[in-house]
């Protein structure tokens, strides 16, 4: 089949491919919010049916103690290589809702972009896979390899039960390569393949002062203020000058990037003004002393505060000493930091910094380990060729600062290596209001994945 048959089919079906994705995005599959549990299930059922329609022979719901996952397969011939696609069908919460230009679950196309929660992270990129399978089957009648698909419903709330699925379903999930589309390229004109992801570890802190809010006149001056205590604890966790994380042992297991790796990082274009604009017009970049912006994002660990609360935040004054205050902390990890160990180190540092007069509790939550795939892996090379054939440019080899814990589970539990073919853009505003998927990337992505199966079938047969 000449390649342009696929291109012709894709071009002719673009409008339908967008319309279908819009319908999928209407389901508010927010996994972190228990109130949306039924929506996440409906979303899974919708996706399973769509996988069948796209050409998977079998599609089913996999139950967990939390939200359900979807499994599908099209097994062509046991002698052919097998690829496993991983994605997630759940989405981030949508607050602050008033900052969305249009409702997060009423998707809208504006200026060549599709806006809506999950447009690119990750429902849009999962849909891209379905449409690639549909397109290859439409123009050729069969796939050049065996394809399996596993799409979980809890990635945005920590993939809590996903490793249980990997453990229990190892036989069915067995494959020669894992393909994941949940990352971004460097820029619209600079395609790239991601070869590394940071890991994640979390700690939630709660400071308990008085059993109830107190009048700040009657009690103020002689009782510890939980917000003051929390501020002291949080402020103690970074060095104010070097911006290094000030948690004993935090850097002990960090494998520092080699000179070669640092040179590779430096070869990928980085425009600090463009980055500042993408980062919501921050006045300056700032981070750990001694490392470039890229290195801080790809190869250095972080400790971030994701939320803080306590006392009165409404209009006017409320002159209280609040009973409690709390904060959410997550760390981004690099090889060879262990998530559970780091979470415990942070928890211990929080507890050690607790001032007198309050009771501090902190819960350590492990997350995914950092993962790095060799740039010489034949699947990375195959993906590079598929991408080059659509973009006309050899993709850069990058890393991402984010985490995809399931990728780490597959590596650790099943020894499965991953190739990360993501078509997002840096300004897609994932996890924020006005998330979008640029339609040109969506359409190119369908064509890249259509070609990827040919490239992988060859690369993995001969490797």
């Amino acid at each position: 089949m000449p390649e342009n048959d696929l291109d012709t089919y894709c071009a002719a079906n673009e409008q339908r491919h967008v319309d279908e994705l819009i319908e999928f995005l209407r389901i508010p599959s927010i996994s972190a919010d228990p109130a949306h549990a039924a929506d996440v299930r409906r979303n899974a059922e919708y996706l399973a049916e769509a996988a069948r329609k796209a050409g998977f022979h079998h599609a089913e719901i996999i139950e967990t103690a939390g939200h359900p996952a979807v499994y599908a397969e099209r097994l062509v011939d046991p002698k052919l290589p097998t690829a496993l696609i991983y994605g997630h069908h759940d989405v981030q919460p949508v607050d602050p809702l008033n900052e969305w230009r249009t409702s997060p679950f009423e998707p809208e196309v504006r200026d060549g972009n599709l806006y809506g929660r999950g447009a690119v992270d990750d429902k849009g990129q999962v849909w891209m896979h379905l449409k690639a399978v549909e397109s290859v089957l439409a123009v050729r009648g069969e796939l050049p390899l065996n394809l399996k698909l596993i799409v979980e419903g809890e990635e945005e709330s920590g993939s809590v039960h996903f490793e249980e699925i990997v453990d229990a379903e190892q036989a069915r999930l067995r494959a020669d390569i894992l393909v994941v589309s949940d990352t971004s390229i460097v820029a619209p004109g600079i395609p790239s393949l991601c070869t590394g992801l940071r890991g994640l570890a979390g700690v939630q802190v709660q400071v308990q002062g008085p059993a109830l809010d107190l009048h700040s006149g009657r009690f103020g001056g002689d009782v510890a203020n939980p917000i003051a205590s929390l501020a002291e604890i949080l402020a103690s966790l970074h060095d104010p000058v070097t911006r290094r994380v000030r948690v004993p042992g935090f850097y002990d297991d960090v494998r520092e990037p080699s000179a070669d790796e640092r040179a590779l990082f430096a070869s990928v274009p980085f425009d600090v003004d463009e980055f500042r604009a993408e980062a919501g017009d921050v006045p300056a970049t700032i981070g750990e002393a001694g490392w470039t912006d890229r290195e801080r994002l790809w190869a250095r660990p972080t400790l971030e505060f994701n939320g803080i609360w306590g006392g009165y935040s409404g209009p006017g004054q409320k002159t209280i000493i609040p009973a409690t205050a709390g904060a959410k902390i997550t760390c981004r990890l690099v090889p060879n930091q262990d998530p559970q160990h780091i979470a415990e180190l942070v928890r211990d540092a929080v507890l050690a910094a607790a001032p007198i007069g309050v009771t501090v509790t902190a819960n350590a939550v492990g997350g995914g380990r950092p993962v790095v795939t060799s740039i010489d892996h034949p699947a990375v090379q195959a993906a590079s060729r598929a991408m080059e054939s659509v973009f006309g440019i050899t993709p850069a080899l990058t890393r991402e600062g984010g985490s995809i814990p399931p990728v780490e589970s597959f590596a650790r539990v099943m020894g499965l290596q991953a190739v990360l073919v993501g078509l997002g853009l840096p300004d897609d505003q994932i996890h924020a209001p006005n998330e979008k998927f640029t339609l040109d990337m969506y359409f190119k992505g369908i064509r890249v994945l259509g070609r990827l199966w040919d490239e992988l079938a060859v690369a993995l047969r001969t490797s």
Copy 2:
């Protein structure tokens, strides 16, 4: 008229006096929340009507640019002394609502206490004045002095427009003494009269980082986190060892209490375990080094954090760098600190502590000045006798850590001295869930005020 006529009348009408107060407390007059503006107005109208019924000859609404006040008077004879009663009919917000045992605006009597928002602060104590007037008129037919009543609707949101009323209505408000019932006695068996109040100054801080929430993986490590910046700023405002406020110039105008004053403070019983229990079972008292618990509460200034917010506080994780974080700060002031000057000093310290990578704004809001009334003032002596005749014990002379800015306005604008006859108790949980007024104090208060007018009529005629 023998005194026991008043006591007999009061005893016979206790149930009705409680039932009427309950009806008044049902109106949710939360002045800080614009959604309750109509309720505050309805509350004012209800109070004006109740003042007429109690025996004031004239009662009217005084409009402001914010919430309305109520003015009433019963002018007996221009040759008699005149007392002006001040109170407020607005109440604090009620969150956290789920910590109330019964709904804040459906008052309930349990174990001799009346629970509900405003029960003691200050609607219950205003009602106590109406019932004292009603009772004196019922048993005697006339008051022994001229009485005026001004009850504002914005005390819990900073008395923003009250000084305009004092300015505009000076002629009508003219009096020989100001009587305020918005404070507490030391304990049920230890009556006391408050002779000093701390002042108030406020600053609201807003930290702006990125224009929108960012993905903590994609951007984490190279962008300032507004919560981290805010924590650093807040932590810089106290010395972690001495707990002194670390704002340049903060203590410059503080008049330190004399040895005599410190001895007077020390003569009032203070049980640290009881205080810890009243303060919601805090594990320890803590405050500025070098001062006793009492002194920290009555004679030393404070800087408190009343609220903090930023990022995600819902269930589960949300791995963001939030766009913004903010906090509310108020200071309690002592003579001779100036509220506007202190607010500006705190604002400047906040701005000076701002780290790079974020934009910090801070608004300084002045409040009431601290006030101290001489313990030799004839009205203080008169109030002492009235209280002793009901409690059987000479009241202690105390101060309060809280602020009543209008008391300061009357002193500064009209030269009017105040006597503070409050019948609250330290465990009334004002500004917190489950606010209550102990009914024994409410009933005693009506009798104390009934006697106070006789004592004041004599003391101010002969003074």
